[in-house]
């Protein structure tokens, strides 16, 4: 009996770990610059994030969006069309001190902003972005997190501002 309890006790963490690994983990890595800068790394299982996001009240988000809400249907269709279109650089804005580049690479929309002292990279999985918008034109945060499962093993957001560094990546 003791053996069975031990086996079960050993199996549960393995199963939990394997499930978390199979469904994905978002790593939030914040590094503060300077000699006394701190570093915080927070692993967030996508399954837990999905569960938490399911409790976000959808009507509240919709009311916050105001007039933008009526354009959600159009945005979804544009995202779908973008997902099916060939890869390429979509937008490049070059100014004296700043460059903004938006490019489509595979299933990802990459936004890169480089300035004098800062660099920002945002990679938006198109699948996930499209799933945020429900067919009825409402926002679904849980679906957005679910969509991130299609975008694993990449960096979602990376911000370098001087010595400070923030990175959110999916494993």
């Amino acid at each position: 009996m003791l053996k069975l309890i031990l086996a079960t006790a050993a199996a549960l963490p393995v199963a939990a770990g394997a499930t978390v690994a199979a469904t994905g983990v978002a790593w939030v890595d914040v590094r503060e610059g300077g000699p006394n800068g701190t570093r915080i790394v927070v692993p967030v299982p996508l399954l837990a994030a999905e569960l938490a996001s399911a409790f976000v009240p959808i009507p509240d988000i919709a009311s916050e969006m105001g007039e933008a809400r009526q354009h959600l249907g159009a945005a979804r269709k544009v995202l779908d069309a973008l997902g099916e279109s060939p890869d390429g650089e979509l937008v490049r804005v070059e100014d004296k001190d700043e460059t903004v580049v938006i490019a489509k690479e595979g299933d990802t929309l990459r936004v890169h902003v480089s300035g004098k002292n800062e660099d920002i990279d945002v990679n938006v999985p198109l699948e996930s972005a499209a799933q945020v918008i429900r067919p009825d034109g409402r926002i679904d945060p849980a679906a957005a997190v679910r969509g991130l499962r299609h975008a694993r093993f990449q960096t979602l957001v990376e911000v370098r501002d001087g010595d400070d560094h923030v990175k959110i990546s999916l494993w």
Binding site: L6, A7, E89, V93
Partner: protein
């Protein structure tokens, strides 16, 4: 002990495997959907270039025409209704100012009578501070705005076929589908605007990066 432990770990792996398979299946579905809906042949791209003379700032926009179509077709009904964009050129203003704009129907009428006339000056408005001329030259409709000094301030060139598509159909609205059809078939410049401060060029080709011309 070994057997029960193995059974426990095995059960754990089965649970993980089922979840993993679910994820893998979802990813495969996504990939195959992207492959089957991908464009065949060379897709058309709409390019916009804005360069400011004497400044380092520039804007480059390259959009697949399919995305432009999706945006136009999916535009809210107050912008696009039944495939047509309602145009208000100010001819029915209620603020007491009659305005100088022509209605789309009036423009359409004028265009129909002028487009077969070959190369001709369509409009010439000479004012104290500037002169506006609209003329047809070959396959282009040219708009020129110049100052009395003779310096050309603004040049706009639009293909005749695009003007045709914009002015096709009845009423005070533009048939979006007709314009899309024209854009789909067109390769080359759509609009060129040059003034003393900047140059804007909009064109369609089959290159994602857009050829520098």
């Amino acid at each position: 002990m070994n057997r029960t432990a193995l059974a426990g770990v095995g059960a754990a792996l089965v649970v993980a495997g089922v979840v993993g398979l679910g994820v893998a299946q979802a990813r495969t579905d996504g990939a195959s959907a992207a492959e089957t809906t991908g464009p065949s042949g060379a897709p058309a791209w709409l390019h916009v270039r804005v360069d400011e003379h004497g400044k380092s700032s520039k804007v480059r926009v390259n959009v697949p025409l399919t995305v432009v179509e999706a945006a136009l077709e999916a535009a809210p009904s107050q912008i696009v209704d039944k495939g047509r964009i309602k145009i208000d050129l100010g001819h029915d203003r209620h603020d007491g100012d009659e305005g100088h704009d022509l209605s789309l129907a009036q423009m359409r009428k004028i265009w129909q009578s002028l487009k077969d006339a070959g190369d001709t000056e369509i409009v010439s408005v000479e004012q104290e501070d500037e002169t506006v001329k609209v003329a047809r030259k070959g396959d282009l409709v040219q708009v020129r705005v110049s100052k009395p000094s003779g310096e050309e301030e603004v040049q706009v060139d639009v293909p005749v076929s695009l003007v045709d598509a914009v002015l096709a159909g009845p009423g005070d609205s533009v048939d979006v589908k007709m314009v899309i059809r024209e854009l789909r078939a067109r390769r080359g410049d759509i609009v060129r605007v040059n003034d003393k401060d900047s140059a804007v060029r909009i064109w369609i080709d089959e290159s994602a990066a857009g050829e520098a011309r």
